[in-house]
């Protein structure tokens, strides 16, 4: 369990981060790499501080746009997942279509969305949604569709309707899958927003990346990347925490030992 993890294991991620930064800095200094090609961590930090208000503004925009798209993804993903998981027919009908849809590069939707919604938050929200609802849907559906047949028999004999089985057993059972999928989906949502902002927005980190790149401000571009990474990681950790709090039973070994 996490509480009993040795200190070395808990500090490992931070240690690796520091090591990476040190090596990165060393490479830039030793080989005298130009800041226009590959800025050093020091340079990135400098730029980040210098343009902090601009970056914060863009970051906030990216953040809330992502969260709106992600919120829609949760609602749609849960509903579609519920539909798929509760009926074999729906599962078999929807799965191939959904897989095909998921295989499409979501960046390719951006020009179409621009035609429909114009430049701005519309395409960004929808790209974040399109890219992130799939894992949520699949995980809910899987959780519902993989009930033990014995347990279902026990309940059906008692006169349980399909709905009873779903709400008493199916949904609680799929909760760990659901929270697991949120962790994946939130990082994807940030990808969606950023990609969309790069071509179809005048605000947000994606826009910042493009404008910094085109004016050769590599330090600022890297700073933008770092900010997206920090936001995605923070949200990942948040959902990871919620997952541990709400579905602790799923992380304590299974009952299969019986």
């Amino acid at each position: 369990m996490s509480r009993l993890r040795p200190t070395s294991e808990r500090l490992a991620p931070a240690a690796l981060l520091v090591a990476t930064l040190v090596i990165w800095q060393a490479v830039c200094t030793l080989f005298n790499v130009s800041d226009f090609i590959f800025p050093s961590p020091m340079r990135v930090a400098e730029q980040m501080w210098e343009h902090r208000t601009t970056i914060l503004g863009h970051a906030w925009r990216t953040f809330w746009v992502t969260m709106v798209g992600f919120g829609i993804a949760i609602v749609v993903g849960v509903l579609l997942g519920f539909l798929m998981g509760s009926s074999r027919l729906a599962y078999n009908a929807m799965y191939p279509l959904m897989t095909a849809f998921n295989a499409l590069p979501k960046a390719a939707f951006v020009p179409i969305l621009v035609v429909w919604f114009g430049i701005g938050i519309g395409p960004a929200i929808l790209t974040a949604f399109l890219i992130s609802f799939f894992p949520i849907m699949v995980n809910i559906a899987t959780g519902l569709a993989t009930l033990e047949p014995e347990l279902e028999d026990v309940l059906r004999v008692l006169g349980a309707k399909r709905w009873d089985v779903l709400t008493k057993v199916g949904l609680p059972r799929s909760m760990p899958y659901f929270y697991g999928s949120l962790k994946v989906a939130i990082t994807l949502a940030f990808v969606g927003t950023t990609v969309s902002e790069m071509t179809a927005s005048n605000e947000g980190i994606g826009y910042l990346l493009i404008s910094a790149g085109s004016s050769m401000q590599m330090g600022l571009a890297f700073a933008g990347l770092v900010v997206v990474a920090i936001m995605a990681m923070a949200m990942y950790e948040l959902f990871s925490l919620i997952e541990k709090r709400t579905t602790a039973w799923a992380h304590r070994g299974s009952q299969g030992a019986g």
């Binding site: 014995e150 026990v154 008692l158 039973w249 019986g258």
Partner: protein
Amino acid sequence: MAAAFVDFRNVWLAYNEELLAQGHFAVEDISLQVGEGEFIAIVGPSGCGKSTFMKLATGLKRPSRGTVVIGGQAVTGPLKITGMAFQAPSLLPWRTTLDNVLLPLEIVEPYRSSFRSRRAEYVDKARKLLQSVGLGGYEQKFPWQLSGGMQQRASICRALIHEPKMLLLDEPFGALDAFTREELWCALRDLQAAQKFNVILVTHDLRESVFLADTVYVMSKSPGRFIVRREVDLPRPRDLEITYTPAFTDIVHELRGHIGALRKTGAEVAQ
């Protein structure tokens, strides 16, 4: 036995239309009559249709031919007066032991509609039942905190909480070690002696069947048929010591003979 509680008459079951057309039956020509409160055991090799028999007796499957009458009524759908337990305890890991046992009451009528208003009463009932199988004090534990034997006890409590007239057990002790298994035999024996429900126990442990049941049926493999009916005339209450007496061993030996013959020929043995 005119007023049999469970009455199977020439029951055949094929799992689907295609198999029916080809004449492949999971069970063939099953007839049995079980009196009220009788404890029967069905033994046979794996895959002989024992579980199919369970599905027929609970109304989860309708026979392709023949009739099943339970408690004086033809079975036409899931039968609420039955409780089931399986080899896997299949408790819900997010519910405490107590809440797991209460689950059927949230589903089956007449408890369902009064579950909220009479919850305290039902909780009390569940506690008593858990206590009677030696799980007193474990009500608030989660399934993963219990041993395999304890989980199985809880699973049997879950099957009994709505006071079914008939308990169906599908190899319920199959995954337990020998000592735990014997403890649970006694727990089941005492529950049945106290509450007088019918039991249909599916097992491939001959000693288990003879120790617990009033009547043992031996089933043959594909097609599933009953080939031997053996009444166990050992006096009740039975103590574990009885399993070491010659009378007990003779019955087990006799049944073993039938199963052995089955395995050798793979065909039917004349009754």
